[in-house]
Amino acid sequence: MALVVSNLSVGRNGDQVLDAVSFSLESGSLTALVGPNGAGKSTLLQAIAGQLPIGSGTVELHGATLLPALARRELALMPQRGEIAWDFPITVGELVDLGRLVAARPGCCDVEAALQRVGLVGLADRRLDQLSGGQQQRALLARTLVQPAQILLLDEPCAAIDPPSRTALLKVMGQLRDAGLTLLVSSHDWGLDLDAYDRVLVLDRTVLADGTPGQVRQALGDLRVGNHCCG
């Protein structure tokens, strides 16, 4: 297993956001992390990335406890759209190149190759806010590819983009999985797009269901949480 999360509990501003969360990720897998608003998806990704203090539990990477320094080297976190200053004066190429700032060793791609992998060739000199929402998300994804990380934590990369862009992004994520990267992708999507993932984790403070898309749909039906999750 690439990543093993055991009994993870995290609090924020005095509230318990995650309670005894346990799951593991295989190397070279594409996993969806779904749940309603406030379920703790972003908190979980940030805690795994070493951005939030862990109350209890452990996060292990290839059998070793994931300390912040190791997390920075082996994991890349792509934040939600709302965290990015899209009007910042920066070109696509310069944004992607920022990934190299944190790389102690080169990632899988240089800037040009990363842009090629996400289908943004020829847009390196374009200002970031001149791209469509889907292209902006792919530019951010390209930045994580320049980092040396083997595990990508993507926080709602498909939010607020049109269906064709979402399909294109899911295809890119599938290609990255095929190339051996491990992806954990938070999402609000409960529709057919879930089938693009190998596995689905349903989170609402704790893990409610874990399995293939089909297994999870079945489990959610049994749990009768679908209605409140699927808004």
């Binding site: 940030q46 990335a49 070493g50 951005q51 912040p68 320094a69 920075r72 890349a76 976190l77 792509m78 934040p79 965290e83 990015i84 200053a85 910042f88 004066p89 920066i90 070109t91 310069e94 944004l95 920022l98 700032l101 944190v102 000199d125 200002r127 970031l128 930045r143 980092q147």
Partner: protein, 262 residues
């Protein structure tokens, strides 16, 4: 002797310096910090005068202390209810009030009008040195930390996740802002400095392809505005204080910025 040469050089230096710091703050969404620091310099300045120290040093210490106190008391997540804004404004007013109170309490003489609105024509060599030091500090920060500042500006959470020293970067930015504000004190005063930090930056950022380009543009704009303001102010037919005139000219940039952003 060209009596206007030294004040003009100071006006041009401050005119280029303030927009540089202002652009850095604006892209980090921290321009309000310049306003806070500009008001928070007063207690340190008064104490330094009482202790016969360089007023600039006292101002920098006091300005940074005000900014750090406001940051400590703010939670950073109270945007919706304006809680952090209330904290920042209260610290700003508190430091300004403390400074005004210290003047009679310490039995010192401080030309408050010159501190608040500048007195460019009375500026001396020490003001020039102070501005050059501030300029060097800004250029050093840009030279050593440019890409980190870009990362922090475009994606603060990603920057933290990537292990960038976010707190240290913000502290350095605060320090450089305090240097800038204090150095601009004699030229445009601590109240009007915010116009020179904000307006050229706003105009320069529109359509800039990189932060570097925006910095160069904003410095050039500030230099022109400051030089023009000074040149106009000393015309016998006009004969007005340069600081407020520069502030008014900066306001004239805002419609241009609004037009360009459409």
């Amino acid at each position: 002797m060209l009596w206007w040469l030294q004040p003009l050089i100071l006006a041009l230096l401050v005119g280029a310096l303030c927009p540089l710091s202002g652009t850095l703050l604006l892209v980090q969404r921290r321009l309000f910090q310049a306003n806070l620091i500009s008001h928070a310099v007063l207690p340190g300045l008064a104490l330094a005068v009482a202790l016969r120290l360089d007023p600039g040093v006292g101002g920098v210490v006091s300005g940074v202390a005000g900014a750090l106190l406001a940051e400590q008391l703010s939670r950073g997540d109270r945007g919706s209810d304006g809680g952090d804004e209330a904290v920042l404004n209260t610290v700003l007013a508190g430091f300004l009030g403390l400074g005004v109170l210290l003047i009679p309490l310490l039995h010192i003489r401080v030309d408050l009008e010159a501190v608040l609105f500048g007195d460019l024509l009375a500026a001396g060599a020490s003001d020039l040195v102070r501005t050059l030091v501030a300029f060097a500090a800004v250029l050093l920060l840009l030279g050593l930390r440019y890409r980190q500042l870009v990362y922090l500006g475009v994606d603060p959470m990603g920057a933290a996740a990537a292990g960038l020293p976010v707190r240290r970067l913000r502290l350095l930015l605060t320090l450089v802002t305090a240097f800038t504000v204090v150095s601009a004190m004699s030229a445009v005063g601590v109240v009007l400095v915010i116009a020179l930090m904000g307006a050229p930056a706003l105009l320069a950022l529109t359509g800039a392809l990189s932060l570097r380009q925006a910095l160069v543009r904003s410095a050039a704009l500030g230099l022109v505005i400051s030089g023009a303001g000074f040149g106009l102010a000393i015309q016998p037919a006009i004969n007005l204080p340069p600081g407020p005139l520069i502030g008014v000219l900066c306001m004239g940039l805002l419609p241009l910025a609004a037009l360009r952003r459409r």
